[in-house]
């Protein structure tokens, strides 16, 4: 059976069709139709089926990544939502965590909550940190709160009570009462959505779930209906932020889990490509028009973060809304091809301000007046102005050079080439800082990693970043332009269930952990039954732990198998090792404390690791002048298409490998080649800097 994947992004919808039997992949890129995203998808399906000469009946699975939930939050176009909370804590959502995201700027404000204060209502109840009921839930106050919610006109409601992660009874009672009285309005309770401690983060997560629920519900209902009409008989799966697939019924109940659907798929793609060339440890580097996103894959497994933020300001940590659900870890910074270069105090600065796609860089000729990273890359000869996006767009190199000269070169007394080089260098320096945070700062030794570079600008910058950080290999995947959609094909259905239980691992708490995991397994079982056919479940465990008294927990993979009486000790040992890897020191005498416990259920899927892209590549070979300071500035270098490089075997830099969707800069001293699957691989000369 064929597998079909589509990823709806802000600008483009990417579709790919994969035949596991032959390995053939068909790909297609279409403009996104924001008014009705499902429409774009359906159009893409029709075109792709035609291209592959296939029928809906031949499709075994449809895999989908979408930004619909994220967009509803960013544009504040979710449903009118109300919140019910513990008496005395009405303002938790509005107070937030209170820290300014710019420490030296007193004129910032914080993220606008999704709910106004008037729509937050209190009930009389209180549960303690140990889960004991301190004040019972007062039924009359529940009815009053429900009346108030209904009167306020809410279309969705969240319930978040203090310590509900430790004892969900009161939240569940409110949900039951709600069902008795007002069945048409969906209820999201925090102990179900994100049963973890830290009340603001949990409350906000439940509120976001409630806020996007009606939107996602409508969208998926329409998509499922349309697919059925067209004769698709098989499962639709939705990508979650954690890199696993989920059934529509679960996505409609827990839409907060699909917020980072597209970026997660991009990291999966990178892990898949890495695996195919024998690189188990990968730093993923996706540099597009406005941002660069960095992630990591360790031993073939994408790194997972316990939480993330959406709708942040200038990609500043702490400026957005926190979402406390597992997600593939990504660091996003305001450095993309469209990032604007300017001067401050006689220094070049790049971003986070971006010219975006419209007007875009000066060289687009759409009215952009301020020089960008892409303009610099054109001036440096890294991008062929006549072959941008496969020649579908022609760039104005003279205008780019004039812009760089006027805004950067002249004020600094630099020739245009030097000025453009400065812009490129500063963009790299910003990304280097981010890449250090993702690698060295998190205990990853760059010498054991490969960078998988994609997105329009990633392959232009990757080799220099690899050198700066000390990464020996760069991989630029074939069809990097539809990378996230390809990543969907790699994904397996997956459920992460979490519980907060703060436990010191210095006494014998193994039986407590055993009970805890038994409950998590039962919970996962309920969800698995809603996931469709389950051919075989793989269970894995991980947790978040710290030395007792610390405030930040780290991810710790926990032993599998039965939980014996030595489990707590083994967990503590796993933590000490992980901590030493990450922070470089250990304290064997200090007590270890676990905070969150996670159980992951992944469904087995066939090993269909054969890939061959249907689009034929032409052998093109030319030369042009490009900037390589190592070789003394502008240098005449060979420019090859992938196919030409494949035919030529390995090639020493300086060189450029250029295709419709990417341009790869290869530095002097490095060697570039193409592997049998069409991926470009650069061996970075080690020890060079």
């Amino acid at each position: 059976m064929l597998r079909l994947a589509f990823d709806i992004g802000g600008t483009f919808t990417d579709c790919v069709l994969h035949d596991p039997a032959t390995g053939v992949v068909h790909a297609l890129k279409l403009p996104t139709t924001p008014a009705d995203p499902a429409e774009g998808v359906l159009k893409g399906l029709d075109a792709l089926l035609l291209q592959a000469n296939a029928t809906p009946g031949m499709i075994g699975a449809v895999l989908h990544a979408t930004t619909i939930a994220t967009n509803a939050v960013i544009e504040r176009k979710g449903a009118a939502t109300a919140l019910i909370t513990t008496r005395g804590f009405r303002d938790v959502l509005i107070i937030g965590r209170q820290k300014r995201y710019e420490i030296y700027d007193l004129f910032v404000d914080k993220a606008e909550p999704l709910i106004r204060r008037r729509h937050i209502h209190e009930v009389d109840e209180r549960i303690g940190a140990d889960g004991q009921v301190i004040d019972p839930l007062d039924a009359a106050s529940v009815d009053r709160a429900i009346d108030a919610v209904l009167k306020g006109g809410a279309k969705s409601v969240a319930v978040a009570l203090l310590h509900s992660y430790a004892n969900p009874a009161h939240e569940q009672a409110i949900a039951r009462r709600w069902a008795e009285r007002a069945l048409h309005i969906p209820v999201s309770i925090s102990s179900d959505i994100s049963p973890k401690y830290r009340e603001y983060e949990r409350t906000n997560t439940a509120v976001v779930n409630a806020y996007v629920r009606p939107v996602v519900d409508r969208y998926l209902a329409r998509l499922q209906g349309s697919l059925k009409e067209r004769g698709f008989r098989h499962e639709l799966f939705i990508m979650q932020s954690n890199g696993g697939l989920v059934s529509p019924i679960l996505a409609r109940r827990y839409p907060v889990r699909i917020l980072e659907s597209g970026p997660a798929a991009g990291v999966l793609m990178a892990s898949m490509i890495g695996a195919s060339v024998g690189a188990e440890h990968v730093i993923t580097f996706d540099m597009g028009g406005t941002t660069a996103k960095l992630g990591a894959v360790d031993g073939g497994v994408p790194a997972i973060a316990p939480s993330f933020e959406i709708d942040s300001v200038k990609y500043k940590k702490g400026s957005g809304l926190p979402i406390s659900t597992p997600a593939i870890e990504l660091l996003e910074i305001g450095a993309g091809g469209g990032s604007i270069a300017s001067l401050e105090m006689g220094l070049i600065t790049v971003g986070p301000e971006s010219a975006g796609a419209d007007p875009g860089p000066i060289c687009y000729g759409r009215g952009g007046r301020r020089p960008t990273v892409t303009d610099a890359n054109v001036v440096l000869g890294y991008i062929d102005p006549g072959y941008f996006n496969g020649g579908t767009m022609s760039l104005d190199a003279a205008a780019a050079a004039a812009g760089i000269a006027a805004h950067i070169g002249a004020p600094l007394g630099l020739a245009t080439g030097d000025a453009a080089w400065g812009v490129h260098l500063v963009a790299n320096s910003n990304m280097e800082h981010a890449m250090r945070l993702v690698s060295v700062e998190r205990g990853r030794d760059p010498r054991h990693y490969a960078i998988v570079a994609f997105g329009g600008a990633g392959p232009l910058h990757a080799a220099r970043l690899a050198r700066a950080i000390g990464v020996p290999k760069v991989i630029v995947p074939v069809a990097a332009g539809v990378g996230s959609a390809v990543g969907l094909l790699r994904a397996a259905p997956r459920i992460d269930v979490t519980a907060t239980r703060v436990l010191r691992l210095d006494s014998d708490v193994s039986p407590v952990i055993r009970d805890l995991y038994a409950r998590l397994e039962a919970r996962a079982g309920e969800e698995l039954s809603l996931l469709g056919d389950a051919p075989g479940v793989i269970w894995t465990r991980y947790g978040y732990m710290r030395y007792a008294g610390q405030g930040f927990e780290i991810h710790v993979d926990l032993p599998g198998g039965p939980i014996g009486d030595d489990f707590a000790a083994r967990a503590a040992q796993a933590f000490r090792d992980a901590y030493a890897r990450k922070h470089g020191h250990r304290d064997d005498g200090a007590a270890v404390e676990a905070v969150d416990w996670v159980l992951v259920a992944t469904l087995r899927r066939g090993s269909d690791e054969r890939w061959r892209f249907a689009a034929a590549d032409r052998k093109r070979r030319s030369r042009r002048s490009a900037w390589f300071p190592e070789a003394g500035g502008y240098t005449d270098v060979p420019v090859l298409s992938r196919a030409a490089l494949a035919a030529a075997g390995a090639l020493a830099g300086p060189a450029i490998v250029e295709d419709a969707d990417s341009s790869v800069v290869v530095l002097p001293g490095d060697t570039v080649s193409v592997d049998p699957n069409g991926h470009v691989i650069i061996a970075i000369a080690t020890g060079s800097h």
Binding site: F89, R198, G346, H689
Partner: protein, 559 residues
């Protein structure tokens, strides 16, 4: 200055690099810290210095150390470890309030960095420790502390690290004097590790570019930073601007403390902040040593002049801070100073008030004052000591173009500590955490609301150290805006309610509830100019009542 040629690209890259090194020290520290002050309150700093001890870059962390770091390092080098007395693998620890950042909980670790045997600079960081011993948990007691010797362990600059290893004997001395030795030990190790990884990067930078080039860049950075700061300061019309405000007192039954600041812009790019008219130093743990005085002076000037560039020796040069010796803002040792953190908001308010007329669009109504209480004792359940370090934070004053934000950290940049975290680790129960209706100062742009936080003790006994203010003096509005409602602290609000002084220390018994009620923030512009729509919105959201709308704005149904 060296005569090595310097191109703008090398300048840019090296400058960014030293900024990123300083920032990484802080990021590492934050993620490995035990102290709540560090990880939630961002009460730490990190910096890189050149071989002569000039500040090259500082991480974007606590403003409380902005103007002070250079003085600390200079004093350590001049007075304690002159010449070549520091060797590779050494690091110096100190927490002395007069030499350091102003109170004992801040431990500072300074590490020289060498390349091929030659000193190329220093990396350093400071962290607010959870406890340094002394009269009360947290070492920030105000009341009854009349000299620094009561505030805990005082560490003059000592060689704490030798050959890259923390000296076990000295460590034992420190740990034997603090209430939470595990946490303090963890944080000292974290401070050392953070420096070590930064040192490696600094070495590499010097190796890659050469000492002469990097030092040439340092000079240029400072020259340009100084010029930029002077240009920003020169935009303020020449003249002296004065502000005056008061702290409630320096403990129960004591007189108010006057804060008087005269700010003179010379019109040429220099500014002098003179604190000399302020009160004399006080016999309570509240005094502001000169380094701390400098820090918030520098921060306020940077904010007002929108001169937010990264800190180095250059942009500090045009800012002069003066305070009479023996006064509250330049006390003589052993003046106690543990609770000096309470001052930062008030110092900013006073400077804000002074400069409002000259820069109305940069000014705002007074902040809600924050509260920084500690509750500590022995946890009945575990037999172990606990210190609940808390931060309650409320609103901003109205701004020229909008209302003051609700519930945002003032001046210093803190996170609150989640109720669920506080209750998991301490025998307490938070009974309420909510905005106080009608408490924000009325105005064209309203001040943010005050905040109420009620904390019940669920342990046999504990010691409560309060650190609040604004019980006696209004958080003022600007340009016709009204003041916010004053703060109160009440013991047992629902039975035998008793009003407490803002800086009292007292014993609590099981079931006692302390109710912190932070002041509202000041308004901006006359209430009469407020739009009806904004008033209606505030009523609907419960920030104000209909009666308050009528009384303050003359607003009624139908308006």
């Amino acid at each position: 200055m060296s005569d090595v040629a310097l191109d703008p690209l090398t300048l840019t890259v090296i400058w960014k690099n030293v900024l990123s090194i300083a920032e990484e020290i802080g990021i590492t520290l934050r993620h490995t810290a035990y102290s709540e002050g560090v990880r939630e309150g961002d009460d730490f700093s990190s910096a890189v210095f050149d071989a002569r001890g000039r500040l090259v870059s500082q991480g974007p962390f606590s403003p409380g150390h902005l103007g002070s770091f250079p003085y600390v390092v200079r004093a350590v080098l001049d007075d304690w470890f002159p010449g070549e007395s520091l060797r590779p693998g050494d690091a110096v620890l100190l927490n002395d309030s007069a030499i350091g950042t102003g109170h004992f909980p801040d431990t500072m670790l300074i590490m020289p960095v060498f390349l091929d045997g030659r000193r190329i600079g220093f990396v350093c960081n400071s962290a607010h420790q959870v406890d340094m011993g002394g009269a009360a948990p947290g070492s920030q007691k105000v009341q009854g502390v009349t000299e620094a010797y009561q505030e805990g362990l005082r560490i003059l600059p000592i060689r704490f690290v030798r050959d890259g290893k923390i000296d076990e004997d000295l460590l034992r001395v420190v740990l034997g004097n603090v209430r939470m030795p595990d946490k303090v030990q963890g944080d000292l190790i974290a401070q050392h590790s953070a420096n070590c990884s930064a040192a490696v990067r600094l070495e590499r930078l010097f190796r890659d570019y050469g000492t002469a080039t990097v030092e040439r860049v340092y000079d240029e950075m400072m020259v340009r930073s100084e010029a930029a700061m002077r240009a920003a300061l020169a935009k303020v019309p020449a003249g002296t601007y004065s502000g005056e405000d008061f702290l409630d007192d320096y403990g129960p039954d004591t007189p108010p403390v006057r804060i008087a600041i005269d700010i003179t812009f010379d019109g040429l790019g220099g500014v002098t902040l003179d604190y000399s008219r302020s009160s004399d130093q006080v016999p309570a743990g509240l005094n502001s040593y000169l380094n701390f005085t400098r820090a918030y002076a520098v921060f306020a000037i940077k904010v007002f002049c929108n001169a937010l560039w990264p800190q180095n020796d250059g942009n500090l040069r045009p800012i002069k801070v003066v305070a009479r010796e023996g006064s509250f803002f330049n006390p003589r040792f052993p003046a106690p100073s543990g609770g000096r953190a309470v001052l930062q908001v008030r110092v900013f308010d006073t400077i804000n008030q002074a400069l409002a007329g000259a820069m109305p669009e940069r000014a705002m109504g007074a902040f809600s004052h924050w509260s920084n209480p500690n509750i500590g004792g022995i946890d009945d359940r575990t037999g172990r000591a606990f210190v609940m370090y808390d931060m309650a934070l409320a609103g901003y004053g109205g701004r020229h173009d909008c209302d003051g934000p609700e519930g945002l950290s003032p001046v210093m940049n803190c996170s609150n500590i989640p109720v669920e975290v506080l209750e998991t680790h301490n025998p307490i129960l938070v009974r309420r955490l909510e905005f106080i209706t009608n408490s924000g100062g009325a105005g064209k742009h309203r001040g943010g609301c005050g905040l109420r936080k009620d904390i019940e003790l669920r342990n046999s006994t504990a010691t409560l150290s309060l650190l609040g203010d604004r019980h006696k003096f209004d958080p003022r509005g600007l340009f016709g805006g009204e003041p916010g409602v004053r703060a109160e602290t009440i013991l047992n609000p629902d039975r035998n309610a008793r009003s407490l002084p803002s800086k009292a220390t007292l014993a609590m018994q099981r079931g006692d509830v302390v109710s912190l009620r932070l002041s509202g923030a000041g308004g901006y512009g006359p209430p009469a100019a407020r739009e009806g729509q904004a008033i209606a919105r505030d009523i609907a959201d419960g920030y104000i009542t209909a009666e308050h709308a009528k009384a303050k704005y003359g607003y009624g149904p139908g308006d």
